[in-house]
């Protein structure tokens, strides 16, 4: 049984491998076996990160990225879940809408960056446009699938217990779709992080993504790698956060083995 906060239990063997990789990296750079002008060792990167944190720059950049992820993900969730429910419940909407979606969905979000720049300039709006568009698909598709793939027997159960159509939706079909919606939400959150960073690199000069470019252009590889590491840690924490939240809200959805 997992702890109350899902992913919070630490995988020690996995952490050991990570530590060995970092140690090997440190040794290779220090011994001169691997030598590039701008390729620092992990400890130097850590020192760079600590300095950035002391100066407060790191937190300002982190705050910007967190806010744009939160905004982008929330907008994507609202649109994605609504569209997904509509598509899931209505075969008619699926019939007319799915073709359009299947054409839009494979377009990489980054392809809309120039469009965003043209419309909104170097701004948060551009960043959100680039983040929201690709991020809404996973949660939309999973919401639709969760509803449309609910076993027809569940509908029979609702009817034999004389539930109204509305109660069948609220008390049976939505809870049945919830695990699938949560999976979509988690994939979307991971994507929101990636797209926010990408948008900050090419579009909106702010946040962690821009900081990576800024430090690169300032020839501070330690700081550049420190920002990359922060993005990685942020991804792990966001995923663990959503997992922990959903586990404590709906214990049954997290405990059930994947079907």
């Amino acid at each position: 049984m997992r702890s109350r906060f899902g992913a919070a239990s630490i995988n020690w063997p996995g952490m050991a491998v990570l530590a060995i990789v970092l140690a090997a990296w440190e040794a290779l750079v220090r011994s001169g076996a691997v030598s590039f002008e701008f390729f620092p060792a992990p400890l130097a990167i850590l020192q760079g990160g600590i300095q950035l944190a002391r100066d407060g720059v790191l937190f300002a950049d982190l705050a910007h990225t967190l806010i744009s992820i939160a905004l982008g993900w929330t907008i994507a969730m609202a649109i994605g879940v609504s569209l997904g429910l509509l598509l899931g419940f209505s075969p008619l909407v699926r019939r007319y809408g799915l073709a359009t979606i299947e054409v839009l969905r494979p377009i990489p979000g980054i392809a809309f960056a120039p469009v965003g720049l043209l419309l909104f300039g170097f701004s948060l709006q551009t960043e959100l446009a680039v983040t929201v568009l690709p991020t809404l698909w996973p949660v939309m598709i999973n919401t639709m699938g969760g509803i449309a793939n609910a076993h027809p027997r569940l509908n029979d159960v609702g009817r034999t217990f004389r539930l109204s159509r509305g109660d069948i939706v609220l008390r049976i079909l939505l809870p049945a779709a919830l695990p699938s919606i949560i999976v979509g939400a988690r994939i979307s959150l991971g994507l929101a992080l990636v797209m926010a960073i990408v948008a900050e690199i090419v579009g909106n000069p702010a946040g962690l993504g821009y900081a990576i470019v800024r430090e690169q252009q300032a020839m501070n590889p330690e700081n550049m790698f420190a920002y990359i590491a922060v993005v990685g840690v942020l991804g792990v924490l966001l995923n663990a956060g959503v997992l922990g939240l959903t586990t404590s809200l709906w214990p049954a959805t997290a405990q059930r083995p994947a079907a």
Binding site: H151, R153, L154, D156, V157, R159, T160, F161, R162, R171, I172, P175, A176, L178, P179, W250, A252, T253, Q255, R256, P257
Partner: protein, 255 residues
């Protein structure tokens, strides 16, 4: 036996399929009395499940009529509940065992009353100690008992069971058969029990109806005159049991 709960008057169901209309069941006339155990036996593809869904109000008859306590059936009738064959799909996987059993009654009665009903129902099927587990933590036989308890919690007048033990092993099946007979004695519920297992039909039933052909029709109704309480070993060895078994096999066309 008291008055009738269900009455079918040459009821039939014809479904529109891609290949044209297809009659599934036809000319069904039968009666279910209160506290009666009626088993319906027949080969696959004769419309057993359709007949049960018709009685449960999930599939309206397209000809003839079905009466529940004298009134024409319109949708799932009160006091009648279906127990489905595929318990894994029919149970609500996100609810605990107790919450599954409470599903049909939690909106209509007080918390205390609901809890008491759930306890009673779980007690009847012997799962009181698994109330807090989730369905996927139970064996198949236990999950089917949860579904039976969920139906019992409603205190129904009629339980419609669609091959409820088909997916279970022989030992679990025998245990549940005896549990159903005990439940009927304790609760006076009427049962319509669909099966393709002739021995099961004879062992459980007060009467056995044979559904056969395409479209499925009731070809015979046999009164089963075997002593109660029935016993898995001695009842099944009675000459009368073997004679019913032989006759029904013959009626279905196995002899």
């Amino acid at each position: 036996m008291a008055d009738s709960v269900f009455e079918c008057r040459s009821a039939g169901i014809t479904l529109p399929l891609r290949s044209g209309v297809r009659p599934i069941i036809a000319d069904i006339s039968l009666e279910l009395k209160s506290a009666e155990f009626l088993t319906i036996v027949g080969p696959s593809g004769t419309g057993k499940t359709t007949l049960l869904r018709m009685l449960g109000g999930l599939a309206p008859p397209t000809s003839g009529a079905v009466l529940v306590r004298g009134e024409v059936l319109a949708g799932p009738p009160e006091g009648v509940v279906i127990v489905f064959q595929d318990y894994a799909n029919a149970l609500l996987q996100w609810r605990s065992v107790a919450a599954n059993v409470a599903f049909g009654i939690e909106r209509t009665m007080s918390r205390a009353q609901c809890n008491e009903r759930v306890r009673d129902a779980l007690n009847l099927v012997g799962l009181l100690d698994r109330a807090d587990d989730f369905p996927w933590q139970l064996s198949g036989g236990m999950q089917q008992r949860v579904q039976i308890a969920r139906a019992l919690a409603l205190r129904p007048a009629v339980m419609l069971m669609d091959e409820p033990f088909a997916a279970l092993d022989a030992m679990t099946k025998a245990g549940l058969q005896d549990e159903l007979l005990r439940l009927r004695d304790q609760t006076k519920v009427s049962f319509v029990f669909i099966t393709h297992d002739i021995e099961e039909a004879v062992y459980l039933g007060d009467r056995v109806a044979v559904l056969n052909g395409s479209p499925g029709r009731i070809e015979h109704i046999v009164d089963i005159d075997l002593p109660f309480p029935r016993d898995q070993i001695t009842t099944r060895q009675l000459p009368a049991f073997l004679a019913y078994r032989y006759d029904l096999h013959k009626a279905i066309g196995h002899a």
